[in-house]
């Protein structure tokens, strides 16, 4: 039975190009459908069509018809679909109506006019389904990222909708938080038969949960297929799938477990591998036993860090471990209680939310603005950084009209163009697609190779494996592990997928080069 059908849907935002192009899609009741695709390919738009936010809230030109559980969004506004479609948008922070988790969850039930006893039961069920009963009396602003995301899902789930629609539910979460969210979604789907439709960039977890995957490209939707066949040729596939492709495994594996089973007898397993150890240049900056407290709470405890020329440092650690505070302390934006910062390197800091920085009417002017502020004119540098971050095509666009990953790149270019030797990037991969991540990795490499250094606070171990030379793991404000990226990542529970399948290799690229060397 079809839960949601898209019948010849085309859509364009006001004053913009076509976002969806003649979409034909049937979402089966009770399935998990994952929408993949690069930034700006129309994933969010597609999801927002399901409950009629497009076009009711967005405006724009809409043709075709979306029918969700027998109700056409042409004739039904989103609020009239609230009982059948639960929607969780990209930014969980912006979705809480009430400053209290339990009452926020009850909000949809109040609007639907349920009786008090029914509401009590539903709210308890939603709290349990997401495993957040212990957070019921908290204010959403005080929760960690994963908790907040689960609370937002509970708010959509309380009405017991037949379908849940989630836009990148784990893009801001640490691995544990992402696992929690996906475990909760899996349980809802299995136990309650809730149809789940979600958009994701990082498919490591989503591919496991998915019944079918559809890939969007430029507003066109591919026919949904089983994960294995959908991801077989997709560039954003999880590392294990790409590894399987390189090694010619058929069918390609989706999980580490499957890949490991296939790899037991592989000649490369445990093969001697001498990775080219990057040499560290002279020291640029040192932080020695930094102590920072915020609002009476110790956030950093005696944290030391050395940054040398040529370093690309991945700063890992769960949400709330102190990564942002450390970067801010290194950038001298944060008062420190104890310890010292030394080194006279110039430092650039890119905040987590690129929206804090962007104000100019075009990407080029945004980047040039920094130089203007520094009283320098250097069109070469502007063009260089636009090119280095793959922004030439977007140079005349308005920064706010770009997708999350593109905006992040503009923010990085705007800061880096100032010529800072040490670049501190806070969660640069938030909402980034595979292409943006590749561009970012290349940029970090080039910057380090040119004698600079970059520090990336990230949850993305795959990214850390691909581009970091060193890794620092923070836990509750203390340095838990520090050293060569390979050594640190190898010992971690959240090691990159390839390392867990084919040690000692960290990335698919390393396996490829090892293969090439073996069979010249």
């Amino acid at each position: 039975m079809s839960a949601v059908t898209f019948d010849g849907v085309s859509f364009a935002y006001p004053d913009a190009d076509v976002a969806l192009h003649d979409v034909e899609l049937g979402i089966t009741a009770g399935e998990v459908l994952v929408c993949a695709g690069s930034s700006g390919s129309g994933k969010s738009t597609l999801l927002r069509c399901v409950n009629g936010l497009v076009p009711h809230s967005s405006g724009g030109r809409f043709s075709g018809e979306v029918v969700a559980f027998g109700r056409s969004t042409r004739t039904h506004a989103p609020r009239e679909l609230a009982d059948v479609v639960g929607f969780v948008g990209q930014d969980p922070e912006g979705q809480f109506v009430v400053d209290h988790v339990e009452r926020d969850i009850a909000f949809v039930l109040e609007n639907l006019g349920m009786t008090e006893s029914a509401m009590r039961r539903r709210v308890e069920e939603a709290l349990d389904a997401l495993g957040i009963a212990h957070l019921r009396d908290r204010a959403p602003a005080t929760l960690s990222g994963g908790e907040r995301q689960r609370a937002a899902i509970a708010g959509a789930l309380a009405a017991a909708p037949s379908a849940l629609v989630l836009d990148e539910p784990t893009s801001q979460l640490d691995p544990q938080g992402a696992d929690d969210v996906f475990a909760a979604l899996g349980r809802l789907n299995a136990d309650l038969g809730t149809t789940v439709v979600l958009a994701e960039h990082r498919l490591e977890r989503a591919a496991v949960l998915a019944d079918r995957i559809t890939i969007l490209d430029g507003g066109r939707v591919s026919a949904p297929a089983r994960p294995r066949s959908a991801l077989a040729d997709y560039s954003g596939a999880p590392s294990v799938t790409r590894l399987g492709r390189v090694l010619g495994w058929d069918p390609p594996p989706l999980t580490v477990r499957e890949a490991r089973a296939a790899a037991t007898s592989h000649p490369l397993l445990g093969a001697p591998f001498e990775p080219s150890m990057p040499t560290r240049g002279e020291p640029l900056m040192q932080a020695d036993r930094l102590d920072v407290s915020l609002g009476g709470q110790k956030v950093l405890r005696s944290v030391s860090m050395d940054i040398h020329r040529g370093d690309v440092i991945a700063l890992l650690g769960r949400n709330g471990a102190g990564k942002t505070t450390l970067l801010r302390a290194l950038a001298s934006l944060q008062d420190i209680d104890g310890g010292t910062r030394s080194g006279d390197a110039t430092v650039g800091y890119v905040p987590q939310d690129p929206g804090l920085l962007l104000f100019a009417p075009s990407v080029r002017r945004e980047v040039a603005e920094t130089l203007r502020l520094l009283k320098r004119v250097d069109d070469g540098a502007v063009d260089g950084w636009l090119q280095r971050l793959g922004l030439e095509q977007l140079a005349d666009r308005h920064p706010r009209s770009l997708s999350g990953g593109e905006r992040q790149r503009v923010a990085i270019a705007s800061v880096a163009v100032g010529g800072a030797e040490v670049l501190l990037l806070d969660e640069p991969t938030r909402g980034m697609d595979a292409h943006s991540r590749t561009v970012l990795e290349r940029m970090a490499h080039e910057h380090a190779a040119a004698g600079g250094a970059a520090v990336l606070a990230t949850h993305d171990v795959e990214l850390a494996a691909r581009c970091a030379t060193r890794a620092v793991v923070l836990g509750d404000g203390e340095v838990v592990a520090e050293g060569d990226a390979r050594d640190v990542l190898a010992g971690s529970l959240y090691a990159p997928q390839v390392l867990r399948v084919l040690p000692p290799f960290l990335t698919v690229e390393e396996v490829e080069s090892a293969l090439a060397r073996k069979e010249p």
Binding site: A82, R120, D180, A331, V347, L358, F359
Partner: protein, 377 residues
């Protein structure tokens, strides 16, 4: 985000000892007391009580700083008021000091600014400003201790949608202050710590406004997706609309009658207007299909607290009628204000809400779910 946001233990609705309505009535009692006894000594007592109440019952979270912020603003305006009054009003005998003066042209009022600054005027203006600070302090305390959402839930259903929109808008204020701070910081970091003044306002304003707008859009979509909003107006609601319009007309006419000193007409029109307002409220409330989750009700203890707090204004009113002269502070002849025991004791009744304490909730350590998905990742 959560990396930088600090988790402060917030007190939550279920452990709040008093209903938001109790707090509102408490604040009204306090404000009335200040009006009845504008003697600076009494006003200072009320401000101190408000501070004690905030210390005992402050909510934490985004409104934690409401009290110092609002009181600070009130003091700022008070000081401005004193300066303006002292510079423009003259008529005392005791000259404090003299400043250069000039007289405004006739077109702008023709009064003299500056000149002799007189002690009586300064003292009088200070006392007046203090009364305003006192009233603001009481309402600032209300904002810091009561849940606005709870108040909306307690209001008649007719006001619910409007009330909720106001509460949501209020919640935006602290987030905009945070955003403004973050934007300033990002702006400084962009140039490697160098401060550039030129064009800074634009660089700081645009991101704050645009981020705020994006958040507002996201919130409105969330409201919409969760079923909030008008249904097509029912017959009762249209009727209520007419009632409301009639009420407005009647009250406006009553005002005109009042100005024209037609007392009886004004009274009759006023009563008609009030009845129409009540009818509209009842009609709309009845038409609303919205229900309320775990609506908190006023308990006997709540009413007792309200009654206890009301002792203050009632006792002051009695004292005023029985001719207690310490309630007002005669500036002329200038003397240190005096106080009587009875009004002081009566004011202490405003401490009634402190009979119970708010216990801060311990921040729970997140209980994580072990999952099978971990193995896949």
């Amino acid at each position: 985000m959560s990396d930088s946001s600090q988790t402060s233990p917030a007190i939550t609705p279920t452990d709040r000892p008093w209903h938001a309505l109790t707090w509102l009535l408490w604040a009204l009692a306090g404000a009335t007391a200040v009006q009845l006894a504008p003697n600076p000594l009494y006003v200072l007592v009320v401000i101190a009580i408000a501070w004690v109440v905030v210390e005992a019952h402050g909510l934490g979270g985004p409104f934690a700083r409401a009290f110092p912020l609002l009181v600070g603003v009130a003091i700022l305006f008070g000081v401005l008021r004193v300066i303006l009054t002292a510079a423009t009003a003259h008529g005392g005998n005791d000259v404090l000091f003299t400043t250069p003066s000039f007289t405004l042209p006739e077109l702008l009022g023709g009064f003299t600014v500056g000149g002799d600054i007189q002690t009586e005027i300064v003292t009088y203006a200070t006392a007046e400003s203090l009364v305003i600070v006192g009233i603001v302090a009481v309402f600032a305390a209300f904002n810091a201790v009561a849940s606005h959402y709870e108040l909306v839930q307690a209001a008649p259903r007719a006001f619910h949608e409007l009330g909720l929109v106001i509460v949501v808008a209020l919640a935006f204020v602290p987030s905009i202050i945070t955003a403004a701070h973050d934007v300033g910081e990002a702006d400084r970091a962009r140039t490697g710590g160098r401060r550039v003044g030129r064009g800074r306002l634009l660089r700081r304003l645009v991101p704050v406004l645009e981020s705020g707008l994006e958040r507002a859009v996201s919130l409105s979509e969330s409201l919409d997706a969760r079923g909030f909003g008008h249904r097509p107006p029912a017959r009762r609601e249209r009727l209520a609309g007419w009632c409301g319009a009639g009420a407005l007309l009647a009250l406006a006419a009553a005002f005109v009658a009042l100005v024209a000193r037609a007392g009886t007409t004004a009274l009759v029109l006023g009563i008609i207007g009030a009845i129409a307002v009540a009818a509209a409220t009842i009609l709309v409330s009845g038409a609303s299909t919205r229900t309320r989750y775990r609506r908190r009700r006023m308990t006997a203890a709540d009413w007792t607290t309200v009654a206890a707090a009301c002792v203050a204004p009632v006792a002051l009113a009695v004292a005023s009628l029985s001719g207690d002269e310490t309630l007002q502070w005669p500036v002329d002849p200038l003397a240190f204000p005096s106080a009587n025991v009875l009004p002081l004791v009566a004011l202490l009744a405003l401490l009634a809400p402190c009979a119970r304490r708010s216990l801060p909730v311990a921040v729970h350590s997140p209980v994580t779910i072990r999952t099978r998905a971990a193995e896949a990742a």
